[in-house]
């Protein structure tokens, strides 16, 4: 049986999530022995044609051309897996979706006619069917490896649906929000990072996006109750996965 084929694609992004694959220093060569990497432009000039068993998609859709390209990726791919906040939620560049256009047009650069871009930044799932999503800005390396291993074994990759808050409890980190009055989005943020920020004495800023069934009103009230100004709460909820938190608003 020939090994499963893999392709890695980039849309609007910082390259950090695909770098996470190269950051698997202990596993990279083993992975390369198990899958046929047919297309990974950041790592190799070799470009093989599709179809691909699995496509990893990084980045958000911000141009007309991207829309065509993500559709082509979908057509050529058995499984389409989006990696990171840009591909799953539109990324930080989705801040443009909510910007006052009049304000932005004052910031026009020298020759706008040279550039073409859409007014919105959207996740791949707004355009094509996505089979699996790895969240995070950036994704977690362990989660990526677990997903690749599951796909190789033909099992269903584990999807974490809890919150950062629960991970903090498991890790034994004292609650920053309750015990020290530090603004923290842990109660409403999807787990997957291992509750990293609170372990570093820092409140969660939601880079994995909203978890399921959240109560945003309650977290807003709590943040305001500990003295966080309203505009600071808006900024906290409106940064790395702004589009997802907006859509989670009741």
């Amino acid at each position: 049986m020939s090994p499963p084929s893999l392709a890695v694609w980039k849309f609007a992004s910082c390259d950090g999530c695909q770098l996470t694959l190269l950051d698997c220093e202990d596993e990279l060569l083993a992975i390369a022995g198990q899958v046929e990497i047919r297309q990974f432009l950041e790592a190799s000039s070799a470009v093989a044609e599709g179809p691909f068993d699995v496509s990893l998609v990084e980045g958000s859709i911000t141009t007309e051309h991207d829309i065509e390209r993500i559709q082509q990726v979908r057509e050529q791919s058995g499984l389409l897996v989006t990696i990171g906040a840009c591909a799953t939620a539109g990324g930080i560049q989705a801040l443009r979706n909510y910007a006052d256009v009049a304000h932005y047009t004052t910031a026009v650069y020298a020759h706008p006619d040279y550039i073409s871009t859409l007014a919105t930044s959207t996740p791949a799932s707004a355009h094509v069917k996505v089979d699996l999503e790895l969240h995070g800005c950036p994704i977690d390396k362990g989660h990526l490896l677990q997903t690749i291993a599951a796909l190789l074994l033909g099992t269903v990759p584990q999807q974490d649906s809890g919150s950062v808050c629960m991970e903090c409890k498991r890790r034994g980190t004292a609650c920053l929000l309750v015990s020290r009055g530090v603004p923290c989005l842990g109660p409403v943020t999807r787990s997957g990072c291992g509750a990293l920020c609170p372990a570093y004495d820092r409140g969660c800023f939601g880079c994995f996006g909203p978890s399921e069934s959240i109560n945003l009103d309650a977290i807003r009230d709590q943040l305001v109750a500990i003295g966080t100004p309203d505009d600071a709460v808006d900024r906290l909820l409106g940064t790395f996965t702004v589009r997802s938190f907006r859509e989670a608003q009741p």
């Binding site: 980039k10 060569l29 390369a32 000039s45 141009t63 560049q93 910007a99 932005y104 073409s116």
Partner: protein, 442 residues
């Protein structure tokens, strides 16, 4: 070899082994190069536009997202700029921890570029995975080097990509002495391995080429405190100089000397200096600060026969390897001398004004400027990344390389041009972040 005459078009639609989306376009009409472009078509993400109105505590996290390969560079230039607005300089112990974190990024990024992105050009492979079939030890060495860089980033920063522990004024939490000490054995190995790297890459065959651009980098200075003081190969500092001697300025004067141009074939603005095309990055740092290299790095450069000023960008891989030695050496020193800072951060009281910050990203000078108001909100932000500054020099090289090598067949010439681009370790994601918005509605 037959001399090829007439009109030729060399094109690569999507460049490999660079960070981001770029293309190569060279046109030759009657043996004259009429166009030589590194086309950057990566869509803009408008960071400078949406930074407006954000709080001045946010740029370290927000601008890190411009580049997943060098987030620490963005975090450091951002912190330095905001602290400059507010008139705060962090104490030496915090500056030392910043420098150690930055060394981690240099080690990770340089090992990635030298071995996984650049070496395949010299050894004749499509990429590192293909190269590993014949040179497994080489790739394993690369991955182990990369891993120690990432280990520093993970320990101090919390994670390798977009570290979470950096804040204006310092860090949220400082690592314990025991945690930092645990880095020492692997760093000792890395120092040896980076020596070996210099020797290996110095043995590659290099095409002859001499760039006639100027070289611009941070320069050591006597009076800037903390870790940017004289005697240390500068990664963070304020003084910017050119190898030609035609420039020696404080960072506050940056925009008086450098400007950005918007050209049709690029979503990145081109960096221009009245002095003409200039280069930032390892060649520039080495030319200006060779004397400030730590001892072993200087010895490695000498053993490799590296000239005092290297103007052949193909040989930048040797300079990058020398800097890898330097980063390991500096990191080891910092690890051995580490005491947890008295406080992980200092308060940075908000005050309205303009500030500038600059640091040496692995790819070269990264400049940030912020204007903030009385409430600490950002009025304007300007970010000038290294690849945007290098783009004119890269195109200048493409033009000359093609003119000098018209005898080569199209395939070989195209490959040579691709290599010329990879010489600079271009980070296209960085270069493209900062275009301002044009709304295009259906």
């Amino acid at each position: 070899m037959t001399h090829r005459t007439g009109n030729r078009l060399l094109q690569v639609g999507a460049l490999a082994r660079v960070e981001g989306e770029g293309a190569l376009y060279v046109q030759v009409d009657d043996d004259r190069v009429t166009a030589a472009q590194l086309q950057i078509y990566e869509p803009p993400r408008f960071f400078e536009a949406f930074l407006r109105g954000r709080h001045c505590s946010e740029p370290p996290d927000i601008t890190a997202r411009i580049c997943g390969i060098c987030p620490v560079a963005y975090q450091m230039s951002a912190c330095l700029a905001i602290e400059d607005v507010c008139g705060v300089a962090v104490p030496d112990d915090i500056a030392a921890l910043r420098q150690l974190l930055y060394c981690g990024e240099w080690i990770e990024s340089h090992a990635l570029h030298i071995y996984l992105l650049h070496a395949p050009d010299f050894l004749g492979y499509d990429g590192a995975i293909e190269m590993a079939r014949d040179h497994r030890d080489l790739v394993q060495q690369a991955l182990r080097l990369k891993k120690i860089g990432n280990a520093i980033l993970e320990l101090i920063g919390g994670r390798a990509v977009h570290p979470i522990n950096v804040r204006v004024g310092g860090f949220y939490r400082s690592p314990t002495a025991a945690d930092i000490a645990a880095l020492e054995p692997e760093l000792q190995w890395a120092l040896q391995a980076s020596w070996d790297t210099v020797a290996r890459v110095a043995a590659f065959d290099f095409p002859d080429y001499d760039g006639d651009w100027d070289l611009v980098a941070l320069a050591g200075s006597e009076d800037s405190g903390g870790m940017s003081c004289s005697g240390t190969y500068p990664i963070m500092g304020r003084r910017i100089a050119a190898a030609s001697g035609r420039l020696d300025i404080d960072v506050a004067a940056f925009t008086e000397h450098f400007r950005e141009e918007h050209l049709p074939h690029s979503t990145a603005l081109h960096g221009r200096w009245d002095g003409g095309p200039y280069l930032v990055g390892p060649l520039a740092r080495y030319a200006l600060n060779r004397a400030l290299l730590p001892e072993q790095a200087r010895a490695a450069a000498q053993a490799a026969g590296l000239e005092e000023v290297c103007r052949n960008p193909f040989r930048s891989i040797i300079v990058r390897a020398v800097e890898l030695v330097a980063a390991c050496e500096m990191a080891l020193d910092l690890v051995r001398g580490y005491r947890p800072p008295r406080e992980p951060f200092v308060e940075v009281p908000v005050r309205a004004g303009v500030g500038h910050g600059v640091s040496e990203a692995p790819r070269g000078l990264l400049y940030h400027r912020y204007e903030i108001d009385d409430d600490g909100l950002i009025v304007s932000a300007t970010i000038v990344p290294p690849t945007a500054q290098n783009q004119p020099a890269i195109e200048h090289d493409l033009q000359h390389l093609v003119e000098d090598n018209l005898d080569l067949g199209d395939g070989e010439l195209t490959h040579r041009c691709e290599q010329a681009i990879r010489n600079y370790d271009p980070c296209i994601s960085c270069a493209t972040h900062f275009l301002r918005l044009e709304v295009h509605r259906a």
